[in-house]
């Protein structure tokens, strides 16, 4: 290939990526400017590509309805509770898989645990609905979602913690044993501080998945507990959708996962993305 030809091909490929970047970012642009438009402006027959009058009060008036704020609180409780539970169970199992692989059931059990992450939710949600119905806390509660989200978050936490524990040298623990530490103390004083950065990233990932979850929430809760994911599609006033408020609310709600993701980007690229990073 001649030099000029190569340049042309290179330019075309870069143009393709530029186009894709444009396609990727345009919806965000539209979301942001709509969040600042007035209700009248969003309902015009010819949409404006730049707000004529800026309406930052949208971000306040979204919370005029108290249930919107409660939805964020409910989502936060569920996401945080689920993250803590996944992390606790995942750390225990990940440690066992990494340090005592044969006694803990071997590679196959580890892969079985991981496979639950890909499990189709249709096969889970209906029986769990009836199961939770029979429990004292019922279906429509924080606890039911905290437990159900373990389906996809706990395998993730287990698997990633296993990788992190494998990366920490076992010799450090052995040195601690020689110094008279009990296994429990060695775990807390030596190993845990070493995997802490990894643990935090796992927690962030789990939290994002639980925060974003829509399907289980849509089918299980809705009256006493409403996560923001099931509130967002219902921003209507009569037959009209309140687009500007909806966009303002979704901007607020998507801020935490986006920020966490930007903090997490290095872990994402470092091989953790092998299909494991998907709810």
């Amino acid at each position: 290939m001649s030099k000029a030809n190569y340049r042309l091909v290179k330019f075309l490929f870069l143009a393709l990526m530029g186009l894709w970047l444009l396609i990727t970012l345009f919806p965000f642009y539209w979301q942001i400017i709509t969040a600042f438009k007035s209700a009248a402006e969003t309902n015009r027959t010819i949409p404006t590509f730049w707000p004529e009058v800026w309406h930052p009060q949208n971000f306040v008036s979204v919370f005029a309805e108290a249930s919107n704020f409660d939805a964020l609180v409910d989502s936060f409780i569920i996401a945080t509770g689920n993250t803590l539970a996944s992390l606790l169970l995942g750390t225990l199992a990940g440690y066992a898989f990494a340090r005592f692989p044969r006694q803990a059931g071997g590679e196959n059990l580890a892969f079985w645990v991981l496979s639950n992450r890909m499990f189709p939710p249709v096969a889970v949600v209906l029986p769990m609905f009836f199961l939770f119905d029979a429990t004292p806390w019922g279906t429509d509660s924080h606890l039911s979602l905290i437990i159900l989200y373990l389906v996809f978050n706990m395998p993730l936490a287990t698997w990633l913690m296993m990788v992190f524990f494998r990366d920490t040298p076992r010799e450090l623990e052995e040195a601690a044993y020689l110094d008279g530490y009990t296994p429990l103390r060695a775990f807390f004083k030596v190993t845990l501080p070493l995997v802490l950065p990894g643990m935090i990233s796992v927690a962030m990932l789990c939290w994002i998945f639980a925060w974003n979850e829509y399907l289980f929430a849509n089918l299980l809760v809705g009256t006493d507990v409403r996560t923001f994911t099931i509130v967002i599609p219902t921003f209507t006033h009569g037959s009209q959708t309140l687009w500007n408020l909806q966009m303002a609310f979704s901007l607020i709600a998507m801020l935490p996962p986006v920020i966490l993701f930007i903090l997490l980007r290095r872990y994402m690229v470092r091989g953790l993305s092998l299909g494991v990073v998907k709810g």
Binding site: N116, V124, L131, I208, M247, A253, G275, V277
Partner: protein, 341 residues
Amino acid sequence: MVDGTAPGDLAGEPAAAERPRLDRADPATYPEWFRNKKPRANLIVARWVPIALVGLPVLVLFCIVVYPTVWMFYHALHDTNMMRLFQGNWNFIGLENFATVLESARFGDSIVHLGIYLTFGACLQVILGSILALILYELVKSNFLRVVFLVAMVLPMMLPPSIVGVLWKFLLTPSNGAINQALLNLGLIDQHIEWFNAGLSLWTIIIADVWNWTALPLLIVYSGRVSLPPAVYEAARVDGAGAWTTLRRITLPMLKEVIAIAFIVRFMDAFKFVDLVFIMTSGGPAQSSELPAYIAFQRGIREFAIGEAAAYAILIFAVSAVLIILFLKYLKKVLKAQGFA
């Protein structure tokens, strides 16, 4: 994974050279007590500890995954509906539910929809994602720009499906949506496209899904490309291989498994893909955008035919199980190659 460390290793490696050579295969090398010793796991903790550590999560998974699956299998073979379920009175009807499902036109249509979605949703995403990932890695030289572009392109993946759904519903509003207006302004169309009518609603969902999930294969392939050894490329350069040859003869063959994983992951998601259908079209109009997983939910939860919903779920489960096994096979390979497992 080496399990347990021999005592000799703790003393440090240098000593090994001076140690007399032992014939480890010869039983006579070992003293009497060692030969009579029962083989024992090299554990510093009690034997039950690892079992308990793993047992707790496994128990949880049994409650929230295995139990529901068994429940679904059981009811797929019974004539359960909501009323019978509460009365506790259902009868065994063999494979009748499966027959009903497989014969219904609704199921047949949804399979056609799934086929379209797999081709133009899942496959397109993987191809596009792989191309973008390689462009990003090979042609963008500045490290800072790479990170910025990567974050920008992966951003849609981090949005909750409900936001993606309403955002695209809004963008594609036929009467005054941004996309229609932009296309009009660019002169590509002369009248509004009805994105949500029976002919287009499935494609509308596919558009939103491509926007949302192209990032995943992109991320997978990009991380695979990052972990390829630079030495190979050095050698190719020394041998005078051009950019095109390097791509075709080195990069693509070495990324084969990673791209396979991207395909499998997207296919797995396709079979359970349902949330955008719920939010954007509710399967409509006139069931023109229904996918199998959506019908399973609809039959089970809105239309109370639990036996039939279970049959749908079992069919989806069967396909997913095959894909999951395939996925784990490739994942093992790639993890071994990247030194994780």
